[in-house]
């Protein structure tokens, strides 16, 4: 049981896809300036990451090694399209804002990276847990950054005005550079934590 939990934990903190492995940054920076966008993006990410991990793992014995990448991409592309259609049908308002980034989940390095590095070599249940862990790891970073950026950049949270009208929003925080700044701060924090815990260096 502990081993299974470890699979999830590993993907959230010690091997966080965004902060430690530093992949899939484009979408993180692009959609993390509002909490609503971040939540829908996490939903779309989960809709692709978890099922594609399961399918790749289930088919790992019949996928020929030489053509595994095109097969991964086909599976991921199918789930991305499904996620996009569902988002458009049920969360249309937010979907219209971040449409492009949901469609770009298809080439998100995290998903294809997990298919290649984990699901292709591990059992279905472990791959499912790995998908869940990576989704949490990705979503947690995305939402944390979005809360800070939306609060400082717009004075709002999830589209609801929180700070008084007299607060002058800081434009930089909704622009892409603040995404990099926030990722830098969080990476610093998580590295410090890991080093203290592991006694590294």
């Amino acid at each position: 049981m502990k081993k299974k939990l470890n699979v999830i934990w590993n993907a959230i903190i010690p091997n966080n896809p965004v902060l430690i492995i530093s992949i899939g940054l484009c979408s993180v920076i692009a959609v993390s300036n509002s909490v609503q966008s971040a939540l829908l993006m996490t939903f779309a990410f989960a809709m692709v990451q978890i099922p594609s991990n399961i399918i790749v793992s289930a088919m790992r014995k019949i996928i020929p090694n030489e053509i595994r990448v095109p097969i991964f991409v086909t599976v991921i592309a199918a789930f991305t399209t499904i996620a996009a259609l569902i988002s458009q049908a049920y969360f249309n308002a937010v979907y219209q804002i971040i449409k492009l980034y949901i469609l770009l989940v298809v080439v998100n390095c995290i998903i294809i990276g997990r298919a290649e590095a984990f699901a292709y070599q591990n059992g279905i249940f472990d791959s499912f847990l790995d998908g869940v862990g990576n989704t949490i790891g990705y979503g947690l970073v995305l939402v944390t950054i979005a809360v800070v950026r939306e609060l400082i950049g717009k004075g709002a949270l999830a589209g609801i005005q929180i700070l008084p009208d007299s607060y002058q929003p800081m434009l930089l925080m909704v622009l892409p550079p603040s995404g990099f700044i926030m990722i830098g701060i969080l990476t610093g924090a998580i590295e410090t934590y890991l080093r203290k815990k592991g006694g590294k260096k």
Binding site: P64, E66, A78, T81, I82, Q88, K99, L171, V174
Partner: protein, 199 residues
């Protein structure tokens, strides 16, 4: 050679299965998405011309003089009681900073803008996306939104150029310019159509 055939069959099979799965999801979500688009269009039309009007879709949309501004649909606006033309609404597509912007431009018979409504917008959140934000005021004192400032402007007499007679959105010059050009070009096309039809 043998393995190539095997690869082709495996890949083909997987593609066929995923294609089938996609078709099912598409069929399920299609009516919901279409209903949303239609609702947005109807809502937009009645927002631009509030009141008792009938919208008659033209078989062939009016043509635009600027190749970057496409008019995909146009609706004659008729007063329900008198059956007289009071104006026209054009569905316009202009290139935005990231993806095409789709909007409705409504012009009254006298050439003034009755309203502008965005249907599809993929601009940067917090910047260009503010074009559609009902709480983003370019004129904070009078609570006028970016689109609101077009209302009442004359498409023939006014320039409709950002930073001249249109207040641009901060950080979104391209979006501001694209929408202003779209309103201007579509407006002029409507005015010349209405003039011809009136004769």
């Amino acid at each position: 050679m043998k393995s190539v055939v095997k690869f082709a069959i495996t890949l083909g099979l997987i593609a066929a299965i995923t294609g089938f799965a996609l078709a099912i999801v598409y069929q399920i979500t299609k009516p919901i998405i279409e209903a949303q688009d239609l609702k947005a269009l109807e809502q937009g039309l009645s927002e631009i011309f509030p009141g008792d009007y009938e919208f008659v879709k033209l078989d062939k949309p009016i043509s635009s003089k600027d190749p970057s501004v496409q008019i995909t649909e146009s609706y004659l606006v008729k007063d329900k009681s008198t059956q007289k033309n009071v104006g026209m609404v054009a569905r316009v597509v202009v290139p935005g900073s990231q993806a095409p912007i789709e909007m409705l431009v409504g012009i009254k018979s006298d050439g003034t803008v009755s309203g502008v409504k965005i249907l599809k917008l993929n601009e940067t959140a917090g910047l260009g996306a503010n074009a559609d934000n009902p709480k983003y005021y370019v004129d904070k004192k009078n609570k006028i939104t970016f689109l609101g400032q077009f209302i009442g402007k004359n498409v023939e007499k006014d320039k409709l150029i950002p930073k001249e007679d249109i207040i641009a959105m901060s950080g979104a010059t391209i979006t501001s310019r694209a929408i202003s050009t779209g309103v201007k070009v579509a407006g002029q096309a409507i005015v010349s159509y209405l003039k011809e039809a009136g004769q």
